[in-house]
Amino acid sequence: MATISLSTIEQGIDTTADTVIRNESYFSDLDGLAGDGDFGTSLATGFKVIKKDLPDLDKSDIGTMLLKISMIVSKHVGGSSGPIWGTGFMKAAMPTKGKSELTLQEFADAIGNAVDGIMARGGAKLGDKTLLDAVIPVAEKLKDHAEKGTEDLAEVLKDCATIADGAVETTRSLVAHRGRASQVGERSANTPDPGIVAIATILADWCKANSVEYTPAAPEVAKASA
């Protein structure tokens, strides 16, 4: 059965940090279109610490590592992104405590738990034009694959990247209902949501890091992906 090891997750987080740090100003620029232009900086501030601390973090098990990452986010990430990503890591840490590798089902459960936590924290739901519009369908796709028993993780990853990437397009014309962008009404329509772009870029970069061929469709993701 396909399993995901602690070091795979660690490597995924390291790749994520690279993506976020590299796109600090681009993600902020995207946030500036309808939001307040701080998304990239907020996230990068935290991921710079994560990148630096990751090698020496307590890696007794996956849950412990994720909890430590959540704590770094809570301490260093401001804006909405702090509570959103902090809650995400914290909720993903809970079911993975004590485990040093995860089945696809366990991984899907952890992501599902993170999604529930983020929804409870920020009150957003599918269609509100937040990163949840990328993460919720990704979480569902993970569940599908886990239920189907898919063995090829590359296929799973590519599917997830495709879904998140597609969310940039499908949400582009929507009006944001949460976050700073929601306070500008109609004017958030026809701008991409930076959180969705970030999730899609992270997944695209994970593909690259794992030699899974994937070419982003959304221009923003293509631009942001390494």
């Binding site: 307040d36 232009g37 900086t41 986010v73 401001g78 509570p83 306070q183 500008v184």
Partner: protein, 331 residues
């Protein structure tokens, strides 16, 4: 970037250190959590008033700490809510048996950070409650959004709650004061220029040489419309009418009137606006009992201003009259 800044990432901690250095008797700070508190607080029998928001709005937030105003405040990066830990540590540092009231400006980032921090504190049996400020009339309130933004009207909530807490009012009573002020205060702003967050290094929005953003948010969020710059009087009327119609303010009301500079607009221009706003009050039969002209809630170096009206009653007038002192001072 025409700014006084060393490394952009040091901007926020450095100006906070400057504030602390300038007020050694009044304030003490915790740089790790970008927190400023009254040296002589908390005290057991007084409710502590705290706030924390993104920085770049000075003298709002960390510069509003002092007798009769906030007991403590923490700040996030420029324009971004403080990290959860900063909020939590601020509550903890000001915790008292009388309780802590957190005044949260209605931005999702602030709300989530404070929600989390309040939960953490309550889990440790700290008595704490929070209140949301949302005085900006620029953007329609709606169930489907985060709702109206909290802007310069925040000053009046802090001032009244600070005074009520000094009087020894209970946590619930002080919260009721916050609610009364928030229910009676309305603000709208306009930007003539953008501002440049040091970390971004470029303007937060583009705006033509002859354009203004009516209803701008204090983080440069778009407002009601992008329009051609008109005369000071016309701009004042646009802001004033939006504000006065919203509550609405009515003939015979006693009000506080604030003309707040957004950071790049000098005093003389603010008084040009005040001059007209005071006339508009008179035309509507509003009596200006107190006025405030200056910088209360800025948006870095943005050229622009906001107008705030607060409907008063005897209780609120007493709170506005009460003595107060902060890092923002003249003498």
């Amino acid at each position: 970037m025409k700014k006084f800044v060393n490394k952009p990432e040091d901007f926020v901690p450095e100006f906070m250190q400057g504030i602390l250095a300038a007020n050694p008797d009044l304030l003490e700070g915790n740089l790790e959590f970008q927190m400023v508190k009254r040296k002589d607080r908390p005290v057991d029998n007084k409710v502590s008033i705290v706030q924390g928001s993104g920085s770049g709005h000075e003298p709002a937030h960390v510069m509003a700490v002092g007798p009769g105003m906030l007991d403590g405040a923490c700040q996030g990066p420029v324009f971004a809510a403080p990290p959860v830990d900063a909020c939590y540590e601020t509550i903890k540092a000001l915790a008292t048996p009388a309780g802590v009231l957190v005044l949260v400006n209605n931005y999702q980032g602030d709300r989530m950070a404070w929600d989390t921090a309040v939960e953490l504190a309550q889990a440790e049996d700290i008595k704490v409650d929070q209140f949301l400020i949302n005085d900006d009339v620029a953007v329609k309130d709606s169930l489907y959004t985060v709702g109206r933004r909290g802007v310069a009207g925040n000053f009046f909530v802090m001032k009244a709650c600070g005074a009520a807490a000094e009087e020894g009012k209970s946590l619930d009573e002080v919260k009721a004061v916050a609610e009364k002020v928030n229910n009676n205060v309305r603000t709208m702003g306009v930007a003539l220029t953008s501002c440049i967050p040091p970390a971004k290094g470029s303007p937060i929005f583009d705006i033509g040489d002859d354009e203004m953003e009516v209803g701008v948010g204090i983080h440069g969020e778009p407002g009601r419309e992008r329009a051609k710059i008109t005369s000071a009087d016309e701009i004042t009327k646009t802001l004033f009418d939006a504000v006065a119609d919203d509550l609405p303010f009515e003939n015979g009301d006693r009000v506080a009137l604030m003309v707040n500079g957004l950071g790049g607009t000098p005093p003389a221009e603010l008084y040009v606006l005040y001059n007209k706003a005071a006339q508009l009050c008179e035309e509507r039969g509003l009596t200006v009992v107190r006025n405030y002209v200056g910088e209360y809630c800025t948006s870095l170096e943005m050229a622009g201003a906001s107008i705030t009206l607060l409907k008063l009653d005897g209780e609120l007038e007493t709170y506005l009259d009460a003595p107060a002192e902060t890092a923002a001072r003249i003498f």
